[in-house]
Symmetry: C2
Subunit: 231 residues, 2 copies
DNA sequence: ACCTGAACACCGTTCAAGT
DNA sequence: ACCTGAACACCGTTCAAGT
């Protein structure tokens, strides 16, 4: 039972020396893969290190702390969002499409939305490239500088918030979420009409609409609002 | 050094029996106080129990798990947001004021914004009362039912997201945040003009505007967007 | 019914010691 | 310079045992 492992088998498979040398890229990539498979909570320093065949302490040679690791993961994900060439004639469509792509890419990496809201101002290279494009598109629409700056904020915040809302669902197992939603619907339909007349009256509309329909509505509200400042 | 504590002093001060009997109200209130003083991360089952002079296991007689505790805290906070009587003539102002009050109240309880985005659909009594009021105001504006339902979503999401963004800042000590912001500004001003022409050109506007000014802009965008559906 | 201590299986981060 | 094991001070939740 306690036969020593022969040297040529030691640290096989998961060995850091055997598989891949420790590097920032390997750490961030491993962390991202772990998050994709098991969610953000699984991305602990210990688990990431374990996947790389080392101990948690070794990671601190490459990242200051766990939130720095999170921010590096975020920029990698932002890099997957396509960045269009600004076309002044299609500014509304282009901004909407970026927002849609962002929600889609974030949905492919459940957990990253939790990171983005904790990051005061994403400044990775991919975040900067995205910011440059959004600002250029808004500017080409003939909006005043200050409106451009504030609108860029709003246009980042909204898809982030929607992705975050959706990823909260991903935290739970699918059946638990479905159960919760039908519980909510049942609960709403039993509310006293005297105290909550509007909720009861609007119940069908409140439950209607897939996620995408609601998201598209929000995008359209923002676009119509922004248009009112366009010259 | 190891003199036994006399019986009449045992469990004094923090004693559950002496101070307050264990109850759902006591648990949620203690948890909220702890969050206000030390942030959401401090609200562990163990810390809350410690403040009540008991062990973590005892809390499980009152709440299913930590996230149920979080949701109870959330409804208590939502209860602090003033709910207006719907006045059809002032629907824009009323909706804006609710959004402002929500951001203000959430700012008084840093950490609660993190809870709200993890809660699929807040259904506490205070959340329901707020929802009823928002739906009634939107309906009185003459918006179609489906627009009312979707707009209520959007009008909850936006202040939540803004509060969350601001509370991320509260996680860090104040000087660290200030340092980070000026680091960002310095970094932005050093970006190559060829690669990031729009960021560099808009730098003053990007850095301008207090939080409230940006928040008010977003509210105005949403209101102007919604108006385009009003009959 | 309500409460408890102890246990289980985890955390992030630091640090002295090794190569 | 890079890496490591061990330690420190924590977690949420379960469970058998007590009152």
């Amino acid at each position: 039972m306690s036969v020593p492992v022969p040297p040529w088998q030691q640290r096989a498979g998961r060995s850091r020396a055997g598989r891949q040398p420790l590097s920032l890229e390997a750490i961030v990539g491993t962390a991202l893969g772990l998050m994709d498979r098991e969610g953000l909570d699984a991305v602990s320093m210990r688990r990431v290190a374990q996947e790389l065949g080392t101990g948690a302490a070794s990671l601190y040679a490459y990242v200051r702390n766990k939130s720095e690791l999170h921010e590096l993961m975020l920029d990698l994900v932002i890099g997957e969002i396509p960045v269009p060439e600004p076309d002044p004639a299609r500014w509304r469509d282009q901004l909407k499409q970026i927002a849609r792509d962002q929600v889609r890419v974030f949905a492919e990496h459940p957990g990253i939305a939790q990171v983005v809201m904790r990051t005061p101002a994403p400044t990775g290279p991919n975040a900067l490239a995205m910011m440059e494009a959004v600002l250029a598109i808004l500017r080409s629409a003939g909006l005043p500088d200050r409106v451009v700056a504030f609108a860029a904020d709003l246009l980042a915040l909204y898809p982030n918030a929607v992705a975050l809302e959706r990823s909260a669902a991903f935290g739970l197992p699918a059946e638990e979420l479905g159960e919760r939603m039908s519980q909510v619907e049942r609960y709403f339909s039993q509310l006293p009409r005297e105290t909550f007349p509007t909720i009861v009256a609007l119940l069908p509309s409140l439950m209607a609409g897939e996620g995408d329909e609601r998201f598209e509505f929000g995008l359209e509200v923002i676009m119509r609002g922004l248009e009112s400042w366009a010259g």
